[in-house]
């Protein structure tokens, strides 16, 4: 059951009982399109504490080489927990259309 594959599965492609034989296939499921807001990091305010990384329920926040944080938008649902928990107010949620 994949959202990433090019040709979506047809009804005859499913295993008996909808069994998924591939381990870890949930990683292919794009939850990013649930999002209406996305987090933006202000590197002037960020103290690289990693609170956003710890609290992210989707484990979709990654640390960059410079030590800052960013969200993997393939998975980020825009829940805003990172913005709420950020100690310095470095994370702001912005509307997707902006």
């Amino acid at each position: 059951m994949s959202g990433k594959k090019e040709k979506p599965l047809g009804w005859q492609d499913l295993e008996v009982g909808y069994i998924v034989t591939q381990a870890g296939s949930a990683s292919q499921y794009k939850t990013g399109d649930w999002r209406s807001q996305r987090p933006l990091w202000d590197h002037d305010k960020c103290i690289k504490c990693g609170i956003c990384y710890i609290f992210c329920p989707d484990i979709c926040i990654v640390q960059t080489q410079e030590g800052y944080f960013d969200a993997d938008l393939f998975y980020c649902k825009g829940c805003g927990i990172c913005a709420r928990e950020c100690l310095t107010g470095a994370v702001q949620m912005v509307e997707e259309e902006e």
């Binding site: 979506p8 047809g10 009804w11 499913l14 009982g17 034989t21």
Partner: protein, 391 residues
């Protein structure tokens, strides 16, 4: 050749489960199913069957435990009735959708309120659309035979669907009937070992019961529907093989004195035998009356039904459940729907009787036949008529 022995039908059902050599039984006792699971519990405790008997705290858990057992590759059985079937309702759908070949005896019982432990088909009709193979037994021998057949068909790799064997509460469960129990070795030949293609196995992990978002759910349900309909050939093959092994034959639709009949009764379950008495009486009076018994309820035998009624002018369908505010009894509304597209079809008259254990005697069928002719002359008022209700 084994001889018939007098036996309570519930005990015979338990013996069939023993002969089928099940691995796991998970059940919660409920009237009128109690004697089946009490007996099985005794059989396991006495070491006559090498199985796990799981005393669960509810029917929901009974079906959940059967699901887990079946997913792990075990042959699983449960039995329930009425309110118990309602309580396990959620898991009944899960087991068929996950294609787990659990076999369940349902001792048909009316639903509350008012509280009734007695027989009718309201419990069956509440699980009509749940995706199980469903058959109706008419007597004790059929209960045994259909339970054995159910394991073979359900576990066939071309099927992998659970099966319900329906038997009327009390009218079948609590009567003593002559029953032939087949030899163990013949049963073992008839039911091959159960091999699910993807069992729960740490060496070969799979995900069962995964999340099905909108982009895949329709495909999943289409696959399930096509698969259930395509079980028909294995169902028929199973009955053919059963006849070859044990000498008794079954069909999706079984008829009695139907060949030259103009009027036919249609029944499900134990009242089929009673109806033959009324048919014989009518025949003695020179009336061309026959009987159709619906053995296979799911997948619905459309072709066989259409074939069986093609020369019938008046079809009297007996329902033992009400579809409240709906288009008549559930069986009649399905029969009407199945016949609707035929160029020539019988007039279908629907009676509801036998609710909550009210006896359906041959006289009730006599009355239905008489009443149906009256109604046929001037058309049925409303969708159905309940027989024998006091004003």
């Amino acid at each position: 050749m084994p001889k018939p022995v007098g036996m309570e039908v519930s005990f015979a059902a338990a013996e069939a489960v023993r002969l089928a050599n099940v691995d796991v039984i998970a059940a919660y006792p409920i009237t009128p199913q109690t004697h089946i699971v009490e007996r099985l519990s005794q059989i396991v405790a006495d070491g006559e069957l090498d199985a796990e008997y799981i005393c669960v705290e509810s029917e929901h858990s009974a079906m959940s435990a059967c699901a887990g057992a079946s997913a792990a590759g075990a042959r699983a059985f449960t039995a329930t009735a009425g309110q118990g079937l309602e309580l396990m309702h959620e898991m009944v759908y899960v087991v068929s959708s996950m294609r787990l070949p659990v076999v369940m005896a349902v001792c048909n019982r009316a639903l509350s309120a008012p509280l009734s432990v007695w027989s009718d088909h309201s419990d069956v009709m509440a699980v009509r659309d749940c995706g199980w193979i469903q058959v109706f037994a008419e007597n004790g021998q059929q209960v045994v035979d259909l339970i054995l057949w159910a394991f073979r068909v359900s576990e066939d790799p071309r099927v992998l669907f659970p099966t319900m064997v329906h038997l009327d509460g009390f009218h079948l469960t609590h009567v003593i009937e002559p029953v032939v129990l087949p030899d163990q070795s013949r049963v073992e030949e008839f039911i091959p070992e159960y091999c699910h293609p993807f069992p729960l196995d740490p060496e070969r992990p799979v995900t069962m019961g995964a999340y099905g978002p909108p982009f895949i759910y329709s495909e999943a349900k289409k696959a399930q529907e096509v698969a259930l309909r395509s079980t028909k050939s294995v169902i028929l093959e199973g009955w053919k093989e059963f006849e070859a092994s044990f000498g008794r034959s079954y069909k999706p639709i079984e008829s009695y004195r139907l060949d030259d009949a103009e009027v036919a009764l249609l029944t499900m379950g134990s009242v089929g035998e009673t109806a033959t008495i009324a048919v014989d009486r009518s025949r003695r009076k020179g009336k061309k009356v026959g009987l159709i018994r619906l053995r296979l309820w799911r997948p619905f035998p459309f072709e066989e039904l259409r074939e069986s009624v093609k020369h019938i002018k008046l079809l009297i369908v007996l329902d033992r459940a009400i579809s409240f505010g709906g288009p008549g009894g559930p069986v009649a509304s399905e029969v009407r729907s199945a016949l609707y597209h035929l160029r020539s079809r019988p007039k279908v008259i629907n009676f509801i009787a036998g609710l909550g254990g009210r006896d359906i005697t041959p006289e009730v069928f006599d009355h239905m036949l008489k009443r149906a002719l009256e109604i046929s002359a001037r058309g049925q008022e409303g969708e159905f008529e309940i027989i024998g209700v006091r004003e």
